[in-house]
Each structure stands twice: as structure tokens, then as C-alpha cells.
């Protein structure tokens, strides 16, 4: 219980620091914030438009007041309005968030489903054919940036083989089958870079745990090889795998931005890229904040899961 509480407190503290940093960034950057935001097109903005923006964003008030308002708004779930169309940012995010989550979770699932068994097999047949094959494939997978994977998948399956559409989205309620077809390629693209990470971690930790003395004790008890493997090797290797998945979420979330762009997947990232192009700072701020919250929350889950898997963490 204590452990859960400690983790939760540290997660809240991180979120607080992140939101403060997001607020401060606009003010740290040299130059007038309103001017910076308006100078996207390369032309100097007019004095009036700068003034207008300043009062619209409340930039004319003292910094601490702005901060209090900002934090207050965040706590109420208000992330401000977009520069582009004046629409509330939070609403748009709520609409798009589940699509991004779906993509990430599918990719993570694929990575675990493919990475764990292949890692196990490679470790058990260390130095053998499968080990060589999987290890080579994984080091190649690690080297392909997600957007290249995505683009090449489109080239192969949509342009040359004409098997699947190049990108797009249909909601699950409208057409479940088509929805999954659209999901397939983007999720696979992310999985291509995530699976090798899982594979390597599983392989290394299985190899490490196979050498442990408790494995020898388990064999000395007279336990069958399969039980030894499942209960005393694989079970123990779950903790490092969970940890490594958590650590790579950052890269994963970054990868989603590119993948959603490549496949026209209307998740958070499409909105983000557009906002960055338009230099719509409130929108960027809002999306980044939400993704960071997501990131911190998933890491919290990872920590808790880790505690569940390893009693030593729970009791210390």
C-alpha cells in the first residue's frame, strides 16, 4: 500500500513539474511570446494583431497570475481554445485520444506476442539457427525508423500488391472489419520497432535467469524441465520485460506521431502535427500535456505491475 502511495505521489509531482515547464517554455524562449507565436509565416506580425493576441491569451497580466489561471484551468480540464478555429482543445483531444491509445496498445500487444516466444526460443537455443535468425531480424527491425516502415508497407501492400488501403480510418461502430484493416498496417509499423526491444530483453533476461542458483535448486528438487522453465525462469523474466516496455513508451509515443501522419490515422498526433505547422501553441501545449499525462500514467502502471511481479519491490 505504501509502495502504491509513494509511486502515485511521485507521478503527481512529475505531472506538476511537466505542466509548469510547459507553461514556462513560452516565457523562457527569448523574444515576446505573442510575437513568436504570430511570426510563423516568416513575416513580421502587425502591432495590432500582437496586442490582440496578448490580451486574448492574458499575456499582459503578471506572470504569476497567468500561472495560477493556467493551472486552475488545467485542473478543471480546460486546455484553452485553438488559434485556428477557436474550438475548445480539450474536446478535440477527447475525441482523438482513444484512437491513439488503440494504436499503441495494439502495437504493444503485437510486440509482446511476437517478442516473448521468439526471445525465449532464441535464449534456449543460444547460438543455434533460430537465435541467429531472430537476432539478425531484430537488429534490422531496430534500425528501420517507423515512418520508413510505414511508407514501405504502403508501397508494397497498397501500391504494388493493392491488398489494403494506403491509410484512413473508419470508426469501429460503423464497420468493425474495415476498422481493423485500417488499424493493421499502422499498428504493425510501430510493432516492427518495438518487437526487437522486447525480443532482446526477453532473450537476455532468460539467459541470465537460467544461470541463477534458484533454477539449479528447482532442478535439484526434481522438478521437470518445463516447470523449471515456466515457474523459475519465464515468470522471473516478466519484470524486466515490463520495465523495458515502460521505458520505451516514450519512443513509442513519438513513433505514433509519425505513423499517424503516414497513415492518415486521425489520432492525437495528426492534430499535433497540424498545430505545430500552424504554430498553434495552446493546442500543442494541450496535446503535449495530455500525452505526458498518458506517459506518466502508463509508467505508473508499469511501476505498480512491477511491484506486483516482484515482492522485493513491494516490501522495501
Amino acid at each position: 500500500m505504501n509502495y502504491v502511495l509513494r509511486r502515485a505521489v511521485s507521478a503527481v509531482a512529475t505531472l506538476f513539474a511537466v505542466s509548469t515547464l510547459l507553461f514556462l517554455l513560452l516565457h523562457i524562449v527569448p523574444g515576446d511570446p505573442a510575437e513568436i507565436l504570430l511570426s510563423g509565416g516568416g513575416m513580421a506580425p502587425s502591432q495590432e494583431s500582437v496586442e490582440a493576441l496578448r490580451s486574448q491569451l492574458g499575456l499582459d497580466r503578471p506572470l504569476w497570475q497567468q500561472y495560477v489561471t493556467y493551472m486552475g484551468n488545467i485542473l478543471q480540464g480546460d486546455l484553452g481554445n485553438s488559434f485556428q478555429d477557436g474550438a475548445p482543445i480539450a474536446q478535440e483531444i477527447v475525441k482523438r485520444l482513444p484512437r491513439t491509445l488503440e494504436l499503441i496498445l495494439t502495437a504493444a500487444l503485437l510486440a509482446v506476442v511476437i517478442g516473448m516466444p521468439s526471445g525465449l526460443l532464441a535464449a534456449l537455443r543460444r547460438g543455434g539457427f533460430w537465435d541467429g535468425l531472430f537476432s539478425s531480424v531484430s537488429s534490422f527491425g531496430l534500425s528501420i525508423p517507423v515512418f520508413v516502415t510505414g511508407t514501405l508497407l504502403i508501397l508494397l501492400f497498397s501500391q504494388i500488391l493493392r491488398l489494403v488501403p494506403a491509410g484512413g480510418f473508419v470508426s469501429f461502430t460503423e464497420d468493425p472489419v474495415q476498422h481493423l484493416i485500417y488499424l493493421l498496417m499502422p499498428a504493425f509499423s510501430i510493432a516492427v520497432s518495438l518487437t526487437p526491444v522486447v525480443f532482446r530483453m526477453v532473450r537476455t533476461s532468460i539467459l541470465e535467469f537460467l544461470e541463477k542458483e534458484w533454477v539449479r535448486t528447482a532442478r535439484a528438487k526434481g522438478l521437470g524441465e518445463r516447470s523449471v522453465l515456466v515457474r523459475h525462469v519465464v515468470r522471473n523474466s516478466l519484470s524486466p520485460v515490463v520495465t523495458v516496455l515502460g521505458l520505451h513508451l516514450g519512443t513509442l509515443l513519438g513513433g505514433t506521431v509519425l505513423v499517424e501522419y503516414v497513415f492518415n490515422w486521425p489520432g492525437l498526433s495528426g492534430m499535433l502535427v497540424q498545430a505545430v505547422e500552424q504554430r498553434d501553441y495552446p493546442a500543442v501545449q494541450g496535446i503535449v500535456l495530455v500525452i505526458c499525462i498518458l506517459f506518466v500514467l502508463i509508467n505508473l502502471c508499469v511501476d505498480l505491475l512491477y511491484g506486483l511481479l516482484d515482492p522485493r519491490v513491494r516490501y522495501n
Binding site: 539478425s136 511508407t151 501500391q159 539449479r216 535439484a220 528438487k221 526434481g222 503535449v288
Partner: protein, 629 residues
Amino acid sequence: MLRHFTLIFAVAFLLLIGGMAVLAPLLPLHDPVQMDVMSRLGKPSLTYLLGNDEYGRDIFSRIIYGAQASLAVSLSAAVLAAIGGVALGLLGGYFQGWIENITMRPLDVILSFPPMLLALLAVTLLGPGTGTLTVILAILFIPAYARVTYGEVLSVRNLEYVEAARALGHRSGRILLRTVLPNVAGPILVQFSLVVASCIVLESGLSFLGLGVVPPDSSWGLMIRGARPYMHMEPLGLLWPCLALVFTVFSINRLCDFLRDMFDPKASVAAFTLPGMLAGQRLSRTAHAMSRKAEPDSLLQIRDLTTEISTPRGPIRAIDGVTLQVRRGEAVALVGESGSGKSMTGLSVMKLLPRRIGRIASGEIWYSRGEGENARAIDLAPVPASHFRAYRGRDMGMVFQEPMACLNPVYTIGYQLVEAITVHNNVSKAKAEEMALAELKRVGIPDPERRLREYPHQLSGGMRQRVAIAIALCGQPNLLIADEPTTALDVTVQAQILELLEDIRRTSNIGLIFITHNLGVVAEIADRVVVMYCGQVVEEGSVEEIFYSPRHPYTRGLLASVPKPEDLNSGEKRLASIPGTVPSPLALPPGCRFAPRCSYSTEACSVAVPELEVVTESQAARCIRWKEI
């Protein structure tokens, strides 16, 4: 073989692309921004080696200039980040306290942003461009270096050579740069190559989104972005930059793996090559063990057992022709120093030799089952390890040295005991738990009900060793092999464990093989003693014979090395010691293996390996001069 090939490819590719990027202005290349409208999306030709892009620009030239941009941004960002990160990590890790807090804590905030997002955020504020990109990437990767350096410094700073440098009176700055830094340089170098690869990927990703390198400058990401809409017309234009990008990242990653293997063999991802096949004939493997009528009283008879372990530098004989016997209820001590093969003997009997690299090469292990007239002896040596679990636990149990490591940390004590019980007995869970409780009581654990529900880390070392003994005894074995069971324990706890083992041996009449380097423990517990040196038995006898009339010079030397009250009374204050060190198992001396360290050795000693000569009915020594000594 494939490994070498990919490494050579990686180095060659990096040299080629890096060299061309550096020399680009000097090479006879087309201007990367010059448009040749006539050859838009042109096929490869002699003028345009890789064809033309959507504006008719030369793809080959754009790839080289793209490499220039990519590598310049990535390398400078990686170097800048390295300087900042390593400095922070060194300071934070070495000094700790408040310095640690101000150097390391702020980095956690950077780390709580996914890197791509932080880059996008900065681009929003600063606008795209190569300079911005470099600064952003540098800041992004400072935590990566700082963390690695910090972790390495933490593990190095408490090593005794750093403490020794402090004890000598060296300055902190000097210790950091001359003692700590060289020892953490390996992982930092690995990190450097990882960061360069990540920078290239991030740079190309941002450029792909149109938020990195600004056109008309060239970048692989931009090229992919530009060629994408035309991929149905000219897929090659898309493939070239993809290939350049993938091969570059692959090559750097490959180099990184190589560096990691060199500096940190533990984290090695490289394929493992099996050491050379073991020479000699394999034993014929039969699932049905050979059996014969047992000799009365005998429990275990090992004859001429040889076990081979293959090492990267060639196969070694960890034990070489060992013969020994254990009777029911008898305690036999296997004594020797490191490398003597005493532990390997125990593991050979249990068929727990290191996976895939250890095997029994020859010899017999006769184990007797049954009572009196019906007793049968079975030769366990040819039984394959896969069939051997029928014997483990039920016929012979084993206890290991490290009580900290021999219990699985993620299961309760109760689970691990019940597991051992249900392997051998077909009982309900409730019954098994009842039996587990009885086992814990038997090994003298106070408050056993509570202990059943606790995890190994909640128990002290002595308690854990008691649990390990309980687990080994679950299947009511006739033979218990204890491999240095008290070495990791304190003297007062060691005495308790010895008493427990003694007690169990008496009440259950089981045979005990006690493996140890501690002669004091041997004197306490053993009925008979087998002294091993370099994989061979050099002397065996009853405990009285070994301690009061040792015949082999090695046994005598060992005994003399232990401080005794007489050493003080002589006034000289000297211990008799054995000169030299134990020879490497790869370069054993010819003849008697102890001869080079033996003060009695003659030329004859080096001619042939001496036989184990009978001294008395129960004592034997492997020395040709035992009579004279």
C-alpha cells in the same frame, strides 16, 4: 561468420557514406538543388546515377548532401549532449548528496516527455532549421548520457580501487578523471553510438514531417516526404533515401553492439558460439539404467569419473578420474581449494552440470536403492539428464552455497516447499502445506506458520539456508550433497547449521557429501575425508587419519597453513605455507599435478601421474614418495 560479415559491412558503409559526406564539395557531383525539369522523376542513368526526384534534382547528389546534413546535426548534437551529460553524471554519481539532487533531478522532467514531443514543442516555439534541431537534440539526449554515466559511476565509486585512491590522498578531480572516467568510458561510448543513431532517426522523422531541415536543403527525411506522393509512378525515388537511412542506422547499431560486447560482456547481444566440441567418446546413453546387486552398506560408489567442461579456450577436465564411496549414514567431506573440482563432483552426481557445456565423459556412478538383500545398485552415469529428475530430490538432494540466491525471490517459502513436496508425492494442496509446515519445524525454524507465507528476502541468511535444507529433504532422499552450505554464513550461525545437518544425518540415516574448503568444518562433521587437487583425489582416509597422519604433501601443507596455537608458541610467528599458485586447468603440469609446488618433488614426480596408493585399509594417497615423507 554472418556476424563478422555484418560488422565489416557496417564499418565499410559508414566509412563510405561518411567520407562522401565530408568530401561532397570536392566530388564531381551535380548541384543538389539544381532542377532539371526535363528529367523529373527520371530513371537512373549515367548522368544521374540514381535518377531524379520530383523536381528533377539529382538523387545521388541529394543523398550525399542529405548525409552531410544528417551526420552533422547528429554528431554535433551527440557530442554536445555527451559533454553535458557525462559531466552531470560524473558529478552527481561521485559526490551524491545535494549535488546529486541538483544535477540529476531536473533531468527527470526532460525524461517525462517523449523525445519526439519535446522536439515538436521546441519547433513550435523556435521554428524549424538545422541550428534549432541540433540544440534540441543535444538537450534531449543529455539525460541519456547523464543516466548511464551516473549509474556506472555509482557502481564504480564504491569499488575498492576508488576508495584506495581516496585513501592514498588523491584529489577528487584527479580520481574522477583518472580513476573513474576510464572505467566508465565503455558504456558511454556505447551510449554515444546509440545517441547518434537516435539523432539520425529523429532528425529524419522531423524532416519527414516538414519540421526539421528546411527545403531546399537536402535531408533523407525530406526526400522521403517529397517522393511519397509519387511512389506509384517512381518507387525508386522513395527507395533510395529509405535505403540510405536504414543502412546508416543499421551500421551504427551494429557498431554499437560490437562496442557493447567489448566493454560489457554481460549485456552482450551477439550470438554465442559454442566452444569446440568435446573430444573423446560419448557415453552410451540409455534410458534404462544398468543395474547390479548392491554391495552391502554402500550408498554411492563413484568410479573413475571424468567430467569435461568446454571453455572458450578449449575443453578442460574439471574432474579427472575421481573415485569415492559414501555409505549409508556416513558423512564424507570433499575438501579442496578453488579449481579442485570438488563442486563439479557434486554437480556431476546430480547431473546439474552447466547447461550445454559440461558433460560426464567417462566413469560410473553406482547408486544403491532398497534395503538388505533386495538392494540393487544402478549406474547413473549413462542416464541422460532428461530422465534424471526421477532421482533428484527423491534419492538425492542438494544444498548450495549462497542462501541468498538459491531461493526464487518471487515466490513465498511455502510455495517453494509445496512445489518440492508435490513433485514427489501425489497429495492435496492442504496436505502438502501441512507437510511443508512439518519440514520447516524439522529444520528448526521458529514460527513456521508465518514463515510459510513470507518471501525469501524477509528471512535471514541462516533461515534461508534452513529452508534450502528443508527443500532438499522434502523427497526423503538417502543422500544429501551439501556444497559449501555454511561458507556464506557467520561462525555462530555456521555452528547451528552444522548441528542441524549432523542431527538430520543421525535421525534419518542419510549419507552426506559435504563439500567445503574449510578444514575446521571438516574436522567437526566428517567421518571420512577426500582431499582434491586439480580435479583429482590426492588423498582420502578417515577423519583421524587425514588430520593426524596425513600422507600426501598437499594435505600436510593445507593443514599447516591453518593457524594453530602451536604456531604462536614457537616464537617464530610463521605459518607453513604452500608456495606458488594452483595451476590453470588448461596448462596442467605433466605427472603429479602438485609437483611444482611440492617441496618433496623429484624428477620422477613429473614423469607420470601417480596412482592412488593404498596406505591403510581406509587411507590412500596419490604420491610416489608417501612412505619416505
